[in-house]
């Protein structure tokens, strides 16, 4: 059984980022497994129209007006005609939205339900409940997710968060991690000498990435440890603070600011160091620390969000998001590296067995199997669900859903189904699904070294 899947999100290439690469990697692995994947996103600059990526993934760059940080203007209904066209011409079964901040995704899920498709949603980020923006997003999320068939979260913490935010039944939420292409994050052939310890920091330099902690901690570490160097990659509004810190403490020869780093260069930067320092204040999954560990770096990270779930404790030193504790943890890491009590070079193989996109795609496929088995709900049931979303919001949501339904009737009349060409499919791969893959012997390896090593070739 293979499905036609539409990934809908505001975030996609050419913009770099975690959600973007997640969508691409999962799609490509799903294509490998015999499905057809179409990605729908908004246009980036002059990148408008329909494009193909490697592996026959078709990308629709829908021309829309971008409002803020590559998020399209939330025009509740204007996306519907185009989405309907795409869905019909690609014969989509499942609409899979990504990213709760993406208006495209939320609209897409709503319209897909109106058209009677199966929907799935992947949440990549954590949100609080306090500030106004979160409250608004949460309300919207409640609206769209109250009717979504299944939700995927990248970590258990993220799952808790999403269940709370959108008032979901926890059973409709799966936790499926991100992954990494581990062959892109091999450790250095010859590990850097431990005479000078190099600490690598790669992150977008935003306040929520803990840059203030870095600013406070780096001078202390430099003062305490003689032969420690820092490499900081990434850009953002906090870069100026870091530069001021360097100037003030005269650390120009010990702290190197690299500026923005392309994703394919991350490995080359990482293998220059022995320790990766991650001071983020909130993180749903923290792919970058997995990448760092895969590159053979010992990871010092703040214990926030989903980070504690991501790596085993022998690869990491957790710290509280406090200046003193980060300092202490980094010092411990430096000592551990110097004394050779940890062997970060060995991390790569372990990581390779923990995370792979093939595994993610497999698990996502199981979610698809599950939701394809669900009956699609009638309009009145959907309306009931929306109505329960809140005293005022519920009525508003019901109104939206009804208008959406009427809009669909109008579209059926104006652009009838029979006048819409069905696109030709990219030649599908042979379906390589193995039913019940090695689940029985999964216990064995787990007992042996702590994780299941049922991953086949990684390529």
């Amino acid at each position: 059984m293979s499905y036609n899947i539409a990934m809908v999100s505001d975030f996609f290439f050419p913009q770099p980022g975690g959600v973007e690469s997640h969508i691409y990697q999962v799609s490509s692995k799903l294509v490998d497994r015999g499905h057809k994947v179409v990605i729908i996103t908004h246009s980036y600059g002059d990148r408008t129209g329909v494009r193909y990526l490697a592996n026959g993934i078709k990308v629709y760059y829908v021309p829309f007006w971008v409002v803020y940080r590559e998020s399209a203007l939330p025009t509740v209904f204007s996306f519907f005609p185009i989405l309907r066209q795409i869905v019909l011409r690609e014969r989509i079964d499942i609409v899979h939205g990504h990213g709760s901040l993406s208006a495209f995704c939320q609209e897409g899920l709503l319209h897909a339900k109106t058209m009677g498709l199966k929907t799935c949603f992947t949440d990549h980020s954590l949100f609080g409940f306090a500030d106004a923006a979160s409250i608004l997003t949460n309300k919207l999320l409640k609206f769209t997710l109250s009717d979504v068939d299944h939700v995927i979260c990248v970590s258990h913490t993220c799952k808790e968060n999403t269940v709370l935010r959108a008032a979901l039944d926890p059973f409709t939420v799966s936790a499926i991690p991100n992954a990494l292409v581990s062959k892109d994050f091999r450790p250095a052939d010859s590990p850097p000498p431990t005479s000078t310890i190099t600490i690598v920091v790669i992150s977008r330099l935003f306040p929520n990435k803990g840059c203030d902690l870095l600013v406070a901690t780096i001078p202390r570490i430099c003062a305490q440890h003689e032969n420690v160097r820092f490499i900081i990659g990434g850009s953002g509004p906090k870069a100026i603070d870091l530069e001021q810190m360097i100037e003030k403490n005269v650390l120009q020869d010990r702290v190197e600011m690299l500026g923005p780093i392309r994703h394919e260069d991350v490995r080359n930067v990482m293998i220059r160091g022995q320790i990766y320092l991650h001071a983020s204040l909130t993180e749903a999954f923290g792919t970058v620390i997995v990448e760092a560990a895969s590159c053979g770096l010992y990871v010092v990270c703040t214990q926030v969000g989903g980070i504690p779930e991501v790596l085993p404790s022998e690869m990491t030193i957790f710290a509280k998001p406090e200046e003193d504790d980060i300092f202490a943890a980094t010092s411990r890491a430096i000592h551990a590296i110097k004394s050779g009590t940890v062997r970060p070079e060995m991390f790569h193989d372990q990581i390779r067995q923990m995370y792979s996109w093939t595994d993610v795609a497999e698990r996502t496929e199981k979610v698809y199997d599950g939701i394809m088995r669900l009956r699609s709900s009638r309009l009145i049931d959907r309306l009931k669900r929306y109505y329960g979303c809140g005293v005022w919001a519920g009525k508003l949501f019901v109104l939206c859903a009804v208008i959406d339904y009427l809009l669909m009737m109008f579209l059926e009349f104006w652009w009838p189904r029979r006048n819409i060409d069905v696109a030709r499919d990219w030649p599908r791969k042979r379906v390589v699904r193995k039913e019940s893959p090695s689940q029985t012997d999964a216990e064995g390896p787990e007992e042996r070294n702590g994780w299941v090593s049922d991953m086949q070739d990684q390529e």
Binding site: I152, V304, F318, D369, D381, R385, S436, E443
Partner: protein, 565 residues
Amino acid sequence: MALSLSSTDSPVSSGFDRSQRLSISSSKPPPLSNGIKSPDTSRNGILHHPKGLKQYSSTLLEIPTAQVGVPSVSNRTPSRSPKEKNEYNLPTILTEGPSPTSTFSYSGRGTIKEARSRRRKPWRKLMWVKQNYPDNYTDATFLESLQRNVNFRAYDFWPLVYNTTVIIQHISTVVIFVCAFIAISVGKVQPGYVAGASTILTILGWLIWDNWNEEEQNLLTKVQQGVSSTSRRESSGEEEVMAPSEKQKPVKSRPETEGQIPIDSRLRESKSSVVRSASLSPKKSDRASNPQSSIGSTLSMTPSGPNLDAIKPNGKLGQPLARSLTAPAYSSSINPPSRPPSPPPPPSRANRRLSTLKSALLIYSTLLGLSPILKSLTRTTTSDSIWALSSWLFLVNLLCFDYGLSEGDTEVKRGADGGTQLPHGNLGPPGVGNSLRRKLPTSLSTTTALAASVVLASRLTETADVFSLLLFSIQIFGLFPLFRRRLRHLSSVLHVSLTSALILFAGGSLHYVVNWQWSLMWFGMVFGGGGGAAWVLMGMQRYKNEIRGPWDPARPVFSRRQWAD
């Protein structure tokens, strides 16, 4: 509705689970305020803790369903927890027919039933382990780290009402001022009466203020002598005593500058002065009786009314007013004691009084000179614009006034009332930015009030009218707030009585200047606003629902050293 299903299916086991989790959660150290557990427990939290818990849940619970952690969370919330927690994760998704779980079976990982029958390792909240559980498995530890209403603080009615008195006081002064303006412009009151009465009250207030300064200085000196034996020279005279104390703790330079200006305490000072001396003396004596223990309280009290001044002796005459206007708040609540002492020796009391008198005279004569100019300032403007403008200015004044209810100030107040708590003892970095933040609105409110009074005064026709109104405005908007604030910190009884006197006087002047309906409206507004607002706030607290958890952005904690430099 997997939730209700599971609980009805196995009430016993869920009850057991509840008690089990209770004991665990109670033995656990309380989570930090930012929702992050302390590191050792969290290390445990990854490995041991869920494991131990899990054994119960997987062996005792028949169904590995969502015991969404209802009991543990509702237990952790404070007593007034408004809602049951499961209202927040109510599973609202109901596909018609059976619940989604029943239709969901994961082919690769075995159906839920199959998984249950097999004996499994306990589930762990980790992503890097491939576990023999479906991806949508929801453990009993689900949402365990959820915290609700962490900083919940139940309000009581009367303290809330008491806190509104500060606002009411300020509104009363504005009303009184507007009444005075109307009375002067209509001609109901001779302008000289207004200015004269307010000046007399101001002088009285200043005498009281001066008296307070003396008392506190004495008290401080005694504490200093008692606690620190390092005072460099002993002195017999009262004036000399100030010197060592100043050398050692030049805690507050600014509030003292306020002391040299006559403070307008227009209402009821004769009465209050008597009461004050009575009420202050016992306080002073009991503080002095155990000076060692009250060092903290004096530290915190000094900002509220210290008499040590470094600036005053060399300060020019115009300066004190400006300073007191721009920074009347207790702006920086802690000055590091390590700061070097300010060199100039403290002036004698007589000196201070003299300079105060001089600055007062200067203000008087300046106003006198300015009044004829102001008289004709807005002649070409229509009255409507003036009324609108002054209304807006007064509104800004009311909104921006520093009512002194911010954290730092309440701490100071508690300390001054005799508590042994250091201000900012448990707060984060001491409020350098805090004080900066607070200075601006205060000066803004004073400025707007003076601007409004200038604008109003420019409608008057006689020079004497303008002069007396301006004088009145400076006293009531510039000086009286300082007096009020200090009085509030000294004695709540006096504060309440001053408030009621102000309310009565404002009502009375409304009645006299306008009519009794307005006066009635005023009283209604005061009582309805004060009591009603407190009541509404308490009612709204039922709906307070603050959710915290590990997903919140952590608040970074910096060591103090960072802020000291």
